[in-house]
């Protein structure tokens, strides 16, 4: 069988690994919004495709953002 194409390999990895992100900033509200549901809950790893390491970083960033009232603890804009 032919080796897996580069594209497939890239898609198989987590979005942060692909871009070699070393840390996720809690101030990056735009990014965090992409990682959360409309209710403000963090997407599961299954859903977001994040690796364990980056999911932990996302979790911490989200919790810091929540503390600073940048992201909701519960509910969206409501």
């Amino acid at each position: 069988m032919a080796p897996k194409s580069r594209k497939f390999k890239d898609r198989a990895r987590c979005r942060f690994c692909r871009e070699k992100v070393e840390r996720i900033d809690y101030k990056d509200v735009h990014l965090l919004q992409k990682l959360t549901t409309g209710q403000g809950k963090l997407f599961s790893r299954k859903r977001s495709g994040n690796c364990a390491r980056h999911q932990r970083m996302a979790k911490l960033a989200l919790k810091r953002a929540r503390f600073m009232a940048l992201m909701p603890y519960v509910g969206g804009q409501g």
């Binding site: 101030k27 735009h30 600073m68 009232a69």
Partner: protein, 165 residues
Amino acid sequence: MTLYECMFLVEAGRASRHWEETEKELTGILEKHGAEIRRQTFYGERKLAYPVKKHRRGAYLLTYFEADPAVIEELRRDLTLSEAALRYLILKVEDGVVPEERSLGTWEPTARPQPAAAPETAPEPEAKAAPEPEAAPEEAEAAGGGEAEAAAEAGPGEADAKEEE
């Protein structure tokens, strides 16, 4: 000396009317503990994700400073007691480099509120002075909230647990 970043959340009304005093107070507290300020960026007012002490809008000041790790605990206590900031979050900058000033999505670094507005609001400091004693009891809550902040820097693991509450 370790490099820290500290984000302050200042209520919107205070930020627009008494910005200079507010910034002076916060900076003063940092400097009192021997912190050397590297860079300060004002991120303008935005709607808060949830009301904090009944305030729906707030302005953010991001400060990078170097300080002795031993003074951070006392620094936290002073910041908690101060009414200048509703909340603050002190984090260690792991790579020890002050990052470039950058916009955060739609959230841009902004010019500070103009002190030019001060003359017209000049009579207001007296008006503001009156409600301040009432505001004092809130300090108790502030101290409670402070625990989460204190945890934030301790370590990723423990910080999680406490911030979540």
